[in-house]
Symmetry: C2
Subunit: 314 residues, 2 copies
């Protein structure tokens, strides 16, 4: 299987410049002298997903792109697709489950997307039908080289800001973010370790990588974690990237995730959703399992339920 | 009176590089297509004050600096001084009022400073005595050219990220931030308008600038505003900068400040303290009084009481 290259990621960086925010690395002095946070919740849609989605749309031939795009998502990827389409001035359809959080549906509509609500089992059929009828281009949430290359731009920025980084901690859900970041880091700084982090309740990636085969966990299991962005299983493509380029996996508990959310908001004023807190949780609670040294934690997004955020706050 | 120059601000930028965070400009698409936020709450101490304090310490001759520094503050400047001293490995004493919020006292101590709590009226005497006894260097919160030059680096960064900026909105308390930002913007892009913003309940700067003389408002009046960082009056030095370089002032109400806090946290996931919200409040509620065009709002800090933040959230 062909893996994403550093050249692909550099092209993606050119594409997203001026659209995705060039996020800084924030020294988290309250946690230690060697931890930096990469706060992707500062992206205009609140998560790193904009990088991959926008790179995918930017990589389409102009003629095809003009027809518009289609995506399915119950969360951050919906807004990423909508924002990307809006930036190019092309139509966007987002198929969302009819059980999606109303706030997320509204946010997607506010970005100009046509939202189609369907019962979850009908999702793929509806999407295929509309894509076919209107000639729309699919923008997948993680299982595509252009998406992986887009997320990899985070790795380029980490090395640019912290050239002597020793450890990079990155959340693993479908694996697009971790695949991209690991591809960039291992190409630019092979000595640095890239460690994936996932909730113990959705540890399908740790399971797959330790067994050497792609293992899918059933949704009854993965849906127990509060980290809703990390309930997804790997794909063949992301499994191939992570098998080749990741140095290890660490799992964190639900309490550790909540604790990391509280400490990041208090210490660094960084709003974070549960999925975005796992990398920092690994640093705070599993230091002994990690390589030592200058560590960057990818804080992947900040779109949490306001009630939950208010709770972790006080 | 000699005013701070662009060269002074560029020197400050060299000083603070690698210590203060190079904050991005965040497109606030939820508020309009032409608003960007400069989120200074991302500084390691939660406000822009680090820029000026660190530049002041960096500008001391090494021999003098080694003796250490002293500052007085009840809030953000305390942490700015402590963080700066720690970065240089020199002693730091912070004189704080014995009525200061315990959390702020703790945060200052956590950064290694010696905190001395005094009854407010004794502040100046205690500070003079300790400075004298120990040979410490004073780091003032705003009334010093090195502080103004440090805050001015925000202006350099705005023009670097948004070269065709038309309007810059900046909070005005003691006036150090606005003096520095206006000095940078008017030197680099004279066509851009720099507008100061303050609470109507502490509109001493608007009063001073419209009357052409430095007018001090009594604390019984200015302490009515929730924006605790903006209760301070201008000094002769900042009044001189603002008279020469500011294009106008706008005042905002307490309700407008709270509304801007809510909308920034929801729309951009930017935690903001009341003082940090006034510039965005001016854009959201006083658009007709402002020059039109591409607008950057300086969000000066994010150190709000957690209870208040939780309230504006939900």
């Amino acid at each position: 299987m062909e893996l994403v290259t550093l050249a692909d990621i550099r092209t993606a960086a050119d594409h997203i410049a001026g659209v995705a925010v060039r996020t800084p690395l924030l020294p988290a002095w309250w946690a230690g002298t060697d931890l930096w946070l990469k706060p992707e919740g500062l992206q205009p849609i609140g998560s790193f997903k904009l990088r991959g989605a926008y790179n995918t749309v930017a990589s389409l031939p102009e003629e095809k792109r003009r027809a518009g795009i289609i995506a399915h998502s119950s969360g951050n990827h919906a807004q990423a697709a909508a924002y990307s389409a809006r930036a190019f001035g092309v139509p966007c359809v987002v198929v969302m489950p009819n059980v999606a959080v109303p706030m997320k549906v509204e946010a997607t509509r506010a970005l100009g997307a046509e939202v189609i609500l369907v019962p979850p089992p009908e999702r793929d059929d509806v999407m295929a039908k509309i894509a076919q009828e209107r000639g729309l281009n699919r923008v997948p949430p993680f299982d595509h080289p252009d998406v992986i290359a887009g997320q990899g731009t985070i790795g380029l920025e980490i090395v640019a800001d912290l050239p002597d980084v020793d450890v990079v901690l990155v959340p693993v859900g479908g694996g697009g973010l971790a695949s991209g970041v690991a591809s960039a880091i291992k190409a630019l700084r092979p000595a640095a370790a890239v460690i994936g982090v996932e909730p113990a309740l959705a540890a399908d990636a740790a399971d797959s990588l330790s067994s050497g085969e792609l293992r899918k966990w059933p949704t009854e299991q993965t849906y127990r974690t509060i980290a809703d962005g990390l309930r997804t299983n790997l794909s063949e493509l992301t499994f191939a990237h992570l098998s080749e380029r990741l140095d290890g996996m660490v799992t964190v508990s639900e309490d550790e995730i909540l604790d990391a959310m509280t400490r990041m908001v208090r210490g660094s004023r960084v709003l974070v959703e549960p999925s975005g807190a796992v990398a920092t949780a690994a640093y705070l609670h599993h230091r002994a399992e990690l390589p030592q040294g200058r560590t960057a934690a990818v804080v992947s997004g900040g779109n949490a339920d306001p009630k939950l955020l208010a709770d972790v706050f006080v």
